[in-house]
């Protein structure tokens, strides 16, 4: 089972957090801090697995991938395949990339709601729902279409393109 899916930047700021096991806010933050301190110390050519017994209990580990300024992290127990999770992270990132055209950290920050939608199409209740990036994309775009229909009566978004330049 996947216990949590996290995206955080290389400064330790959480960008997306999704826990599939009930965990209080305090515990969540503590987990994020511990994970960050473990990851930030790892040299670049280390393996993608970190054992996390002290955070999530025995037989759990982190599987993570480092892209530019972001860590993508899945916390799993022993019933999941480590390399399989790496593949899944890759699918997640590829899907984000297709949605946001060259995804960067800012896209994820400002569109955290959309990222949640995407993540929900890939992982649900700690299990993999879909591994086919095209299928995920289709489902997500359907949702966004429906959303937009509902939002037609609200002011359109303008004038915030400049946020991108701040990073």
């Amino acid at each position: 089972m996947i216990l949590a899916a996290l995206v955080m930047n290389t400064q330790g700021k959480p960008r997306i957090t999704k826990f599939y096991v009930p965990l209080g806010v305090e515990k969540q933050q503590e987990a994020i801090r511990t994970i960050y301190s473990a990851l930030s110390q790892r040299p670049e050519d280390s393996c993608s697995f970190v054992e996390t017994e002290d955070i999530f209990g025995p037989d759990t580990k982190l599987v993570y991938k480092h892209f530019a300024t972001l860590y993508f992290i899945f916390v799993i127990d022993s019933s999941e395949s480590e390399l399989g999770m790496l593949d899944l992270i890759q699918v997640f990132v590829e899907t984000l990339d297709r949605c946001f055209k060259n995804v960067c950290e800012l896209d994820i920050v400002y569109n955290f709601n959309k990222v949640h939608t995407i993540l929900d199409e890939i992982v649900m209740g700690g299990q993999v729902v879909e591994t086919n990036s095209a299928e995920v994309l289709k489902a997500v775009q359907d949702i966004w279409k429906l959303e937009r229909v509902g939002d037609l009566n609200v002011p359109s978004v303008r004038g915030i393109g400049s946020y991108r330049s701040k990073s």
Partner: protein, 1005 residues
């Protein structure tokens, strides 16, 4: 760049991003929370769009790590909104902010149900996702049938059905009763025919959970899984979108192989063949390529295939193929593959006998211990720990010690502990062990617990030839600039006891030794100070002729401590100052410590207790436990000095002349004997530690007599007493149907029968002995209609037996039987029996029983037909103790001689009728087999017709140990248990005035 589509939200996010520090961020967040709170309070005028925006903001704030303790109601209310956009936010945010026990969730069950059974597929998806993430028990009860319907529906889109599958999984986890095995297993079989790989992946996740709790119920799914695997590996009609870097859905392959590991081992030869074909193809066909992602995917499949091969008990060839592959992986540079190679190799050690082939890769594994990546170092450490045995212990432990100096803090404790355990378990000799531990203390003193140095003291005390060596080493370590306190303790103790053995060496005069120890005195803690005072007085006592100068210096130390704040130190100082002026009479009091009785290492016991899942561990554990005997056997001058010649019995604390023994039927065996027998009956480690410290210090504190002989300590309650081993745990609420004792007694004469039975399980046993070896099968039968879970089978072998058995499944399905074959080899004679430690859980009630296995001596006996002349010749050839032992046995169960003859025959001790003309006597012969070979054993019993409660028993064989054990064994069989046995008085002259062979015999005896 696409934006969230909500201006207010984007502005808020960028405000937070612009905050210079955490303080500013908090202020901004608090302001926003206050704003949202007011807006929610005054609902009027709040548009759906605004609600949506605020709820997203709440989620964002929550992700930043702030507790959002309001607005839950509003969030949940959005679920009921008619518009998709609001509903979607409601569902997503609810599943992030709320957990399954939240009251608000109950309020929306109806809405959720309406969405699920409604016709709007997008609503269905949202509802299923939310329930799949946070659904609790109540959802389970009200939604499961609807979700099942969606999953098997042939009109729903795959998108809905795969979510339904995972939603059902969640509901099943919350309440397993929602899925009825009988009806549902057939549905699962049909679902496995699904062509859409997305749905199939989700269904496979569901199947893993179902099979894990009831493998038999879903057995019919197994052939389908094999078929799916075949289809995938052959890449037959797999859609292009579901291939990932050219590999047909690696996730589905992995999941399918995972399911297969939850089923019991496949026996059907056809299915097996098909499966092995597929696995073989995966093992052979996976190459390392340049593309990292492709590599990951193909190796994910490969590692899962290796795990499945291990599970299936594949033939030797395939296993060694796997070891070879893993061997390749532990040597590659790619860190992920190397990590998993090490991890899987460790796993393999547990299930298969591959130790030898893994040893070939030792060099690579050791080099991973120096990898910059801590994850890899940990795996390597685990593997080295697992693969260590007596042949490579020296290399591995020295490697660990070397690494200890550079290891980072995170891993040091584990490393030190593992090194200490391995050193103790597999020490080729004790000097090496002592040296390793001293090094360990020097390099990582903080992590060397007291248990470890106590153990060193025990070994040194018990082995005369080690004492000078250890003292010299201790002396050297004290010379180093920074000495850890633990080192001061162990060195202080050893030098106090044994520094006089070094007196002639340079720098080792009593005075010098005293000074070097006393240098450390000011910096150590109080308990260590007390220990050092004892060391001083001992050094003083050993300095012959008395050294006035040393005496004065030591006196001064004692004087200074006379008013020490700690009572213990103070008392010692006061006592020692007086003692040290007693002159030669002090020697009696301050003499060397007596030898310690053998006992189980607290360290090893703790390590064993700490080891994880027992079923998976059992094979390794047993192997390690056997190996751990090595140290006891290799210990030449053990405490039990007066025992028969060296054999495995060295560690058995039973001297042949039995001292008066209390019958005390229920008395547990003394801890030291428990160690020797490997039956693990030792008391809790905490109390052992306490005892140990007591033993180390008590005689010095002058409360105990200065010298106590170890033999009374090593006396134990006779483990052969049937009642003494009725180990049935009284605390269990589930009681056996019948008497464990009766079953055992019946089995001691029969080869098959019931060993244990309670309302849920029956354990049967069948054994077939051939000389020193036996094939034993345990039959574990679930009598009940629910599966028995957490099955754990541990066999605690007696030290004279080698027992091996394969892995036992975790669960026994309803009304099913599991067979556990056990191979037994008898190494030497002993009346001990192995003990089966069996536990299971029935609907959360854990049950544990410990049962003696009928590995009794008589099973190994073969009645030996001997002629009168042979008997006399052998009898004559064996002179007297210890190879021929005689004892008058009292408290015998009164029975006619013919019955006793029958009893002997039933024990495979062949009575030779007529060989002894006295009708009140029995002579019999049997052959005892052990790994060492066959031993002919002769028995003569003289009974007294006037008093049937006593008899004279004489046993003779070439092997003193066999003689002793056979004699004791016969005693146990004839004696009436409730009566105490008394020591043998002088033999009563029961045979008089006889002629013929009997007279010859009588004269001989």
């Amino acid at each position: 760049m696409a934006l969230s589509g909500m201006r207010g939200l984007s502005v808020f996010i960028s405000d937070v991003r612009n905050c210079q520090n955490k303080e500013q961020e908090r202020v901004r967040v608090d302001k926003e929370l206050a704003n949202i709170r007011t807006r929610f309070k005054n609902q009027r005028g709040l548009t759906p769009y605004e609600k949506k925006k605020y709820v997203w903001k709440m989620l964002y704030i929550y992700m930043l790590g702030y507790d959002v303790d309001f607005g839950h109601m509003e969030t949940v209310a959005l679920i009921s909104a008619p518009k998709y956009a609001e509903k979607q936010v409601g569902y997503i945010v609810t599943s992030c902010l709320l957990n399954e026990n939240h009251d608000f969730l109950r309020l929306v069950i109806n809405t959720v149900r309406n969405d699920i059974i409604g016709r709007n597929e997008t609503f269905q998806c949202l509802a299923l996702t939310m329930v799949g993430n946070v659904g609790g028990r109540e959802f389970s009860e009200s939604l499961a049938p609807d979700v099942q319907k969606l999953l098997v529906s042939n009109t729903c889109r795959p998108l809905v059905r795969k979510k339904a599958a995972l939603c059902l999984l969640r509901l099943y986890r919350k309440n397993p009763d929602v899925v009825n095995v009988e009806g549902w297993s057939q549905q699962m079989v049909q679902l496995l025919d699904e062509r859409d790989l997305g749905v199939l992946t989700a269904v496979m996740s569901l199947l893993v959970a179902l099979v894990a709790s009831n493998p038999d119920g879903y057995w019919s799914c197994l052939p389908k899984c094999v078929h799916i695997l075949e289809r995938l590996t052959r890449n037959q009609d797999i859609l292009q979108e579901y291939t990932y870097y050219g590999i047909p859905s690696p996730w589905l392959q992995v999941k399918t192989m995972r399911v297969l590991q939850y089923f019991p081992v496949v026996e059907d030869p056809n299915v097996r063949r098909g499966l092995f074909d597929v696995l073989q193809r995966i093992l052979v066909g996976t190459d390392v390529v340049k593309n990292v992602n492709k590599n990951n995917a193909s190796h994910a499949v490969l590692f899962e295939a290796i795990a499945l091969v291990m599970h299936l008990d594949a033939d030797k060839e395939m296993m060694s193929q796997c070891v070879a592959l893993l061997g390749k992986f532990v040597a590659v540079r790619e860190p992920n593959i190397r990590y998993l190679g090490l991890e899987n190799m460790t796993r393999m050690l547990l299930v298969a006998d591959v130790n030898e082939s893994i040893k070939k890769h030792q060099a690579h594994i050791i080099s991973s211990l120096k990898d910059p990546d801590i994850s890899i170092r940990r795996r390597s450490l685990d593997l080295l720990y697992g693969m260590c045995d007596i042949s490579n212990a020296k290399d591995i432990v020295e490697e660990l010690l070397q690494y200890l100096t550079t290891a980072d803090f995170g891993i040091r404790e584990e490393l030190a502990l593992k090194a200490a355990i391995l050193a103790e378990k597999f020490a080729p000799n004790l000097a090496w062990y002592v040296e390793v531990i001293l090094q360990l203390i020097e390099k990582a003193g903080d992590f060397v617990s007291d248990d470890i140095w106590y153990r060193v003291v025990q070994f040194v005390t018990n082995n005369d030839d080690l004492q000078a060596f250890a003292a010299a080493k201790a002396r050297d370590y004290l010379d180093k600039p920074a000495v850890h306190e633990t080192m001061v303790k162990v060195a202080g103790y050893l030098l106090g006891e044994y520094s006089h053995l070094l007196a002639r060496r340079p720098g080792c005069s009593p005075k010098e030794v005293f000074h070097i120890i006393h240098d450390k005195f000011p910096t150590v803690t109080t308990p260590t100070k007390a220990l050092l005072l004892s060391a001083y007085v001992k050094i003083l006592m050993h300095s012959q002729p008395p050294d006035q100068e040393l005496q004065a210096q030591v006196d001064e130390v004692f004087k200074r401590c006379e008013s020490f704040i700690d009572a213990e130190v103070q008392q010692r100082a006061v006592e020692y100052i007086i003692l040290s002026h007693k002159g030669p009479s002090m020697v009696d009091i301050m003499a060397e410590m007596p030898k310690f009785p053998e006992r189980q290492s607290a360290l090893i016991k703790r390590a064993e207790d700490a080891e994880g899942e027992p079923t998976e561990m059992s094979a390794t554990k047993l192997r390690q436990r056997q190996n751990s005997m090595a140290l006891v056997v290799a210990d030449p001058g053990s405490a039990n000095g007066g025992l028969p010649p060296p054999s495995e019995q060295l560690a058995l604390p039973e001297p042949p002349p039995p001292a008066p023994e209390p019958a005390a039927p229920a008395a547990p065996a003394a801890p030291q004997s428990a160690y020797a027998n490997g039956t693990n009956k030792a008391p809790a480690p905490a109390s052992t530690n306490g005892d140990l410290l007591g033993d180390l210090l008590a005689p010095l504190a002058l409360e105990a007599p200065p010298i106590s002989t170890p033999s009374p300590l090593t006396q134990s309650a006779d483990p052969g007493e049937p009642l003494a081993l009725a180990l049935y745990d009284q605390q269990n609420q589930i009681k056996p149907i019948g008497s464990i004792e009766d079953w055992f007694r019946a089995l001691s004469l029969k080869d098959s029968g019931v060993l244990y039975e309670d309302p849920y399980i029956q354990i049967g046993i069948k054994s077939e002995w051939r000389e020193a070896q036996a094939k034993m099968v345990l039959f574990l039968g679930n009598k009940h209609t629910v599966p028995l879970v957490n099955i754990r089978v541990l066999i605690l072998p007696a030290p004279h037996l080698k027992m091996q058995f394969s892995r036992v499944p975790d669960t026994i399905p309803p009304r099913a039987q599991v067979q556990v074959p056990v191979e037994v080899t008898c190494l030497s004679a002993s009346r001990e029996t192995a003990v089966l430690d069996f536990s299971y859980t029935i609907s959360t009630l854990p049950v544990n029983v410990k049962l003696r296995l009928p590995t009794l001596m008589n099973k190994i006996f073969q009645a030996a037909p001997v002629s009168a002349s042979d008997f006399v010749a052998h009898w004559r050839a064996i002179a007297g103790p210890p190879t021929k032992l005689q004892e008058v046995v009292r408290g015998v169960r009164p029975m006619p001689v013919s019955d006793m003859g029958d009893l002997f025959n039933s024990l495979h001790i062949g009575v030779a009728p007529g060989l002894d003309p006295n009708v009140n006597n029995i002579v019999a012969a049997t052959t005892f087999f052990s790994q060492a070979g066959a031993t002919l054993c002769l028995v003569r019993v003289e009974t007294d017709p006037s008093d049937r409660t006593q008899m004279r028993l004489t046993v003779a064989s070439q092997d003193p140990n066999v003689t002793y054990e056979v004699k004791e064994f016969i005693k146990e069989q004839v004696i009436d248990i409730p009566f105490a046995r008394t020591p043998a008085p002088t033999p009563s002259p029961a045979v008089m005035g006889l002629t013929g062979p009997a007279a010859v015999l009588a004269g001989l005896i």
